[in-house]
């Protein structure tokens, strides 16, 4: 058994070596080569990110190779080992660890080769900073804060029509997830001192199904206090929550106002007014930003900014068709390309 495993391991490594050895030959005339370690394309957000780095790299004349892991740090570590063992080093590594703490060893190994490393998506800690030349990714705090401000505005409008003391329910990421603390604190800061008051929080899990399930239970528990606002830590969770609220008899947009973030939910809900708004966090843009930083670093030997956040504009029914970001390829991207959710064309 162990012999078999070893044999498969050797065979895989051999194939990879041969593959890598031949790959650069076709890329002689390229500007440089990049190897990116990230999660699976099957995940909607990461899928868009990969699209972003691949398209921009091609446009800018980089040769890029992407290693996907199935949210598994051990698998990612092995991929790093294989790339290093193959000996053909790229000009830049893009590093999106599956688990930032457990993946530190691999990051150090990448750094030791002398090839510069750009960290993606997960904000670097003090240890990481020794091994990377910069960071590109979302700002969980800004995103949540913008959502809080958006809800504050909506509450103010509602107050003007007569009403006060608004109850908010929160559909959270799992409390054990790193982004939870940043998101909830920034959101709380943003609504502090307003008429908004959080009365319940549920952390069923990621995604629409969990959003639905968690919200259904939470509604049952706080229904008699009255629910006026709902904050979803991302739009996928919120989409499920809106379904649960509708099934419980609430009219979305009138009885209850929903605010989400990330823009990975259901565009039609915003168009229909069932979701008040969201704050954009674009994986496509994140991918483009990464390549832009790579180019900047290779050209000038340094980055203008060490930490580079993707922008988080607010998106509401009014702005949904006009919201756009200029990509690093110079093109203007609309909401349909930027978001990672269910965006029926």
């Amino acid at each position: 058994m162990s012999y078999l495993k070893k044999a498969i391991g050797v065979a895989t490594a051999a194939c990879l070596t041969v593959g890598l050895a031949f790959a650069p030959a076709s890329a002689q005339d390229k500007k440089g080569s990049i190897v990116s370690f990230n999660g699976p394309a099957g995940e909607a957000y990461i899928g868009r990110f990969i699209k972003g780095i691949k398209e921009t790299a091609e446009l800018k004349g980089f040769d890029i190779k992407v290693f996907e892991n199935q949210f598994n740090q051990a698998e990612q570590d092995q991929q790093v080992q294989q790339v290093l063992a193959a000996g053909q080093l790229p000009d830049v590594f893009i590093w999106w660890p599956s688990d930032a703490t457990a993946g530190l060893g691999s990051l150090r190994a990448l750094h030791k080769t002398g090839v510069p490393v750009l960290k993606i998506n997960q904000l670097p800690n003090e240890q990481d900073k020794k091994y990377i030349f910069g960071y590109a990714g979302p700002d969980d705090r800004l995103r949540a804060r913008n959502a809080g401000y958006m809800m504050r505005e909506a509450a103010a409008a509602k107050k003007a029509n007569g009403g006060e003391g608004f109850n908010v329910i929160v559909l959270s990421y799992p409390h054990s997830y790193g982004g939870y603390g940043l998101s909830i604190n920034a959101f709380k800061e943003a609504i502090a001192g307003s008429d908004l008051n959080i009365i319940g929080d549920v952390d069923e899990g990621f995604g629409q199904a969990n959003g639905y399930k968690g919200a259904a239970k939470l509604i049952a528990s706080v229904k008699d206090q009255g629910i006026h606002f709902v904050y979803g830590m991302d739009d996928a969770i919120l989409t499920g929550g809106i379904k649960a609220l509708e099934e419980a008899g609430y009219t979305m947009g009138e009885d209850v106002i929903a605010v989400g973030t990330v823009c990975n939910g259901d565009k039609q809900l915003i168009e229909e007014g069932k979701q008040f708004g969201t704050t954009l966090q674009s994986p496509l843009h994140e991918g483009q930003l990464a390549i832009k930083l790579v180019e900047e670093y290779l050209d000038t030997g340094k980055l203008e900014n060490y930490i580079n956040f993707t922008p988080n504009p607010a998106v509401t029914k009014e702005t949904i068709e006009t919201t756009a970001l200029q990509g690093y390829d110079g093109k203007l991207y609309g909401i349909n390309e930027l978001c990672s959710g269910a965006w029926a064309q």
Binding site: D203, G205, K217, K223, Q268
Partner: protein, 341 residues
């Protein structure tokens, strides 16, 4: 309610208790009593637990996992273990459905198309298992195949279709105050139980599950049984996929890998549902009614804990403990009731 009436009568209560003590080991009685106390305490003290609205929430919460569990129960009862491809079959089905819907084929055609895909997926696995393939190996392989096809087909993207569409009645509609998905769960549960109890097919499921060799000797081959039960499980998966897609007007291959419960994995959750209900893993003993109640039971405990303010970690732990607990109790009960002449 009738239970309450019965236990208020001291005479009946004593005989019931004595009968339990007579039949089961004291350990079983103590365990069950202990659990009942915790359970009832939790229910009574949970804020807003005892409301009609919450009970509807509980059953709706159990519905999707319950329907898949019912399908899988046929496979387990017939002695063909588990299909480890439940969530991948659902992933393939949801992509098939959403692609058909987004191409404007309408609900009926999309439904038929998806079911065809599911039937083929089920029959393929069933035939391989029926020919003597190990169910774990076969369905792990099938899982990879289905997931691969679904990812490739959808290009790993979210496939969505605009409201209004013909599937909304299933995803978000309700009838007499019950969500249609809840009604579907109840109807499927009743149908499955009737099929198992009162048809010769149902009897064959039990016989082959109880003893495959004796089943063969009495003219009931596992080959066709494996095909039939795997197809049922597959079709149930597809139904859940369609219902879920109808609700969220979209589909993605990962919906069933990361979006069901804190543990995230639909297959594991479905297997847990079958197990917690005391169905025999070896087959031949159990029922779909047990699985339906198992799904509602898990959802009740989960619901109770949410109302008590527990977050996801302790809730995953509780579901795990319940499975271990129920396996022990059911094993003890089965052993106790088997008295050799």
């Amino acid at each position: 309610m009738s239970m309450n009436a019965a236990t208020n009568d001291p005479e009946i209560r004593s005989t019931l208790f004595n009968r339990m003590l007579d039949r089961y080991s004291p350990l079983v009685v103590i365990l069950v009593a202990l659990f009942a106390v915790v359970f009832v305490y939790g229910m009574v003290t949970a804020p807003n637990f005892l409301t009609v609205f919450n009970f509807k929430t509980i059953i709706r919460d159990a519905a999707l996992v319950g329907i898949m569990g019912i399908g899988l129960t046929f496979v387990t009862l017939s002695g063909n273990f588990f299909l480890l491809s439940m969530k991948e079959t659902a992933a393939l089905s949801i992509i098939a459905f959403a692609i058909a819907m987004s191409n404007g084929y309408g609900f009926e055609l999309a439904f038929l198309f998806t079911m065809c895909v599911a039937v083929i997926a089920g029959m393929l696995q069933g035939a391989l298992i029926g020919l003597g393939g190990n169910p774990i190996v076969v369905t792990l392989g099938a899982a990879g195949l289905f997931f691969g096809i679904a990812s490739w087909w959808s290009d790993n993207l979210v496939v969505s279709f605009r409201r209004p569409h013909g599937a909304e009645w299933l995803g978000s509609g309700s009838f007499l105050g019950l969500p249609n998905i809840t009604i579907a769960f109840i109807l499927i549960a009743i149908t499955a139980e009737i099929v198992l109890r009162y048809t010769s097919f149902g009897r064959q499921v039990y016989l082959i599950g109880a003893n495959r060799a004796a089943g063969r000797a009495t003219g009931h081959e596992n080959f066709s049984m494996a095909i039939k039960t795997c197809t049922i499980a597959s079709v149930c998966s597809a139904f859940v996929a369609i219902a879920f897609s109808a609700q969220v007007s979209s589909a993605h291959v990962n919906y069933f890998s990361s979006e069901f419960g804190s543990s995230g994995d639909m297959t594991i959750l479905v297997i847990a549902t079958v197990m917690v209900a005391g169905n025999s893993i070896m087959g031949g003993y159990g029922s779909t009614l047990r699985t339906s109640l198992g799904a509602i039971f898990i959802s009740t405990v989960d619901n109770m804990m949410v109302l008590h303010g527990f977050n996801s970690g302790p809730r995953v732990l509780a579901v795990g403990l319940m499975i271990v607990f129920s396996i022990i109790v059911f094993a003890l009960v089965r052993r106790g009731s088997r008295v050799q002449e």
